[in-house]
Amino acid sequence: MRAFLENLDRRWIFLLVLIAVSTPILLKLTFPEAPSKQVRTVFSAIDDLDDGSRVLIALDYDPSSKGELEPMASAFTRQCALKKHKLYFMTLWPQGTPMVNQAIDILKNEFPDYEYGTDYVNLGYQTGGEAVIKKLASDLHGTFNVDANNEILKNIPMTQNLKNVRDMDLIVNVSAGDPGTKQWVLFISTPHNIKTVAGVTGVTAPTLYAYIPRQLSGILGAIKAAAEYEYLLIQNYPELKENPKAKEGLRRMGPQLVAHVLIIVLIIIGNIIFFTGRRQGTSV
């Protein structure tokens, strides 16, 4: 048995991972979530704003991180729409445009009263990364000039009197790397004291905790935080209870739980083999 495990072909491990991930998906397993303090802080940052506040939603990610970040972007969009906030969407990633469109589709399908130009606007993609963020602090019209549909911002009701990003009440950034949350913190939230919250991947989250709470109000890290956020959102807005699209993060926690347990079991087995081998003088 030990010899078999010691020389285990990695394809067996791949098969186990496949089973671990696909079983909860097929069985539609979901688990209850207990929202953490961090998640509650982010939730309150949006919820405590007066209805109709201006919120900039920057979706700086691409399809490779969509599985982890889309539930956050969707939850933020739904919460803002339920609070009737004025939403300004943008992205600094070339592949981020469809991510913004998907968030806007939520408004079109679930909040038909939301009108383009008066309730939300899509500023689209702008090249330049952190330079764009820096310029937004002084001149919105000089940075974007037109929206994603090539309409001049001066002709759009909700942008015509907007000078710069300092007119926003809150910045919500969903990011998978650079340019992303770190740049928003360095060039906007810190120098101009604008409240900022973020949703980030599990890999990025540890690098951003250092900015909490003074430079960054709070972050959602990885799909676990997204699921907790959805749970909290449904608790506060029961009308979302029947909406399966509002539970994507919760649904994705099933595979995550089984995969994490499998990894722990694999590590334990690996260590048992290692220590048994060391005792017998065969391990290195």
């Binding site: 445009t97 469809p98 250092a210 994490h260 590590i267 087995i269």
Partner: protein
Amino acid sequence: MKRTIPLIIASVTGFVLVGTFFIPYTRDWGDEVLEWFNILAAIAFILGGGNLMKLSLQKISYKRPGWGYAAVTIIAFIATLVIGLGKFGVAPVKEYPTYSLAGPYDEQGSGFWWIFEYVYYPLAATMFSLLAFFIASAAFRAFRAKNVEATILLSTAFIVLLGRTYAGVFLTSWLPDDNVLRLDNMTEWIMNNMNTAGMRAITIGIALGIMSTSLKVLLGVDRSYIGTDDG
């Protein structure tokens, strides 16, 4: 001359940008430079595309290992560029019903949208998902409690792995909600305290490193970024 002029441009631009942060009078200069930066960034896309073509064509031409992948890269690059710029499958907009090119290139149903939705998105998501398989395999083979440091790392990993799922809550649900020994609370404590302390130290270290490197570049001490005379 070939090296001196780029050095002067980099140095002057760098010092002006540093100055704009501290001198309110010069703040507009910084905004002006950012406009140039945006233009340069847009041109960099063309440069990047050209470079991709050059390197891939060279690989195919010399039949270097993996030249087949280079051929796929070129075909995909040209196809996406032509379909996107040519606005294939784009419907005319209301204002200009006779001009199909007036619609947005990425609208739903267009060729570019189709490529993104059904080619790029599944490929990118698949690449990222493969990580789960390799992490599991690597965890089985390499994550060993060989010494004290590795054992601490392993224990922390177990706590965070369990604490980031419902398993953590379930296993220690018999403890009071605010008990620090609950796995979910321990995970939060590790992330908020130990991780933050370490990351702050690393971030400050990196910032100091960037400052000294930037100063060397601005003063012309470090000239490696303009390459060598060999070309």
